[in-house]
Symmetry: C2
Subunit: 138 residues, 2 copies
DNA sequence: GCTGGCGTTGACGCCGGGGTGAAGGTCTAC
DNA sequence: GTAGACCTTCACCCCGGCGTCAACGCCAGC
């Protein structure tokens, strides 16, 4: 199988495949004409890469999985190094969620405060706050 | 007040202030010598910018707040446009947290699955799983 | 009048990750 | 024979929010 077919079957581009090879992630054998030659196994490796990429893993993070498959293990995550990547990614995701949630609460607090201040002014200057929704603003 | 003093008092750099001006965010009057001239009000605007930046707001997001202050309102978030930015940011943060949490659960599931597979193999090939912790792995 | 420190403008660098684009040549398939 | 797929190498891009010169102007103190 040549590069175009592999790219098409994996839903990626020939450019990406050459890029992976340049990173040492998916080396290819060569035919006599210099063309890259791939087999079904390479398609498996490539699919593993793309699944992880869809999870937001960096290319380097996919390397242990690919090497695990290449070493003959049944799954890309059958090796300790892959599990470590999972764990590191989990920790990273947890940290991001925690940070974002903190900011979210800060912003929510600011919004609530600002809305309360606005309503207090509206109530003082414009009559009954209860009727606020009745007045057409536009 | 000249640019260096303002930068220092706001804990930023002259380069950042010139950049804000180039973006039209914090225009400065000029003295006869061409030097930028700032006052205490500019310091308030600048502090507003920096608070929002620390929340992770982009520069453009700070514009409504700055213009609100410049229009004479007591707070940068005393204007509807600022509240809209808060709301948009909240939605954005919620979406990010949701997306990250989804991925987190996917990865956690993969990790659990992979660990279970590993343990099943260890149990089948290495004897009693109960004693696994007793065997020195290294 | 000279040095040093502030100021001015403009242009380019960077950071990172995952590629893409173009140019110029070779090979294959119909 | 010609279109299309393939090869290589080098450069570029995207994003924001500045940093880093370069080359100059302005002003105070000595």
């Amino acid at each position: 199988m040549r590069i175009g077919e592999l790219a098409q079957r994996a839903g990626t581009t020939t450019r990406a495949l050459r890029y992976y090879e340049s990173r040492g992630l998916l080396p290819a054998r060569r035919g006599g004409n210099g063309y890259r030659a791939y087999d079904e196994e390479d398609l498996r490796l490539l699919r593993q890469i793309r699944v992880l990429q869809d999870f937001g893993f960096g290319l380097e993070d996919t390397r242990p999985f690919v090497e695990c498959l290449r070493a003959g293990h049944p799954e890309g995550d059958s090796c300790p190094a892959s599990l470590e990547v999972y764990r590191a990614k989990l920790a990273e995701l947890d940290a991001m969620v925690a940070r974002l949630s903190e900011v979210r609460e800060e912003v929510a607090g600011q919004l609530a405060r600002a809305e309360a201040a606005r309503d207090a002014l509206a109530g003082a200057g414009g009559g009954e706050p209860r009727c606020e929704l009745v007045r057409a603003e536009e």
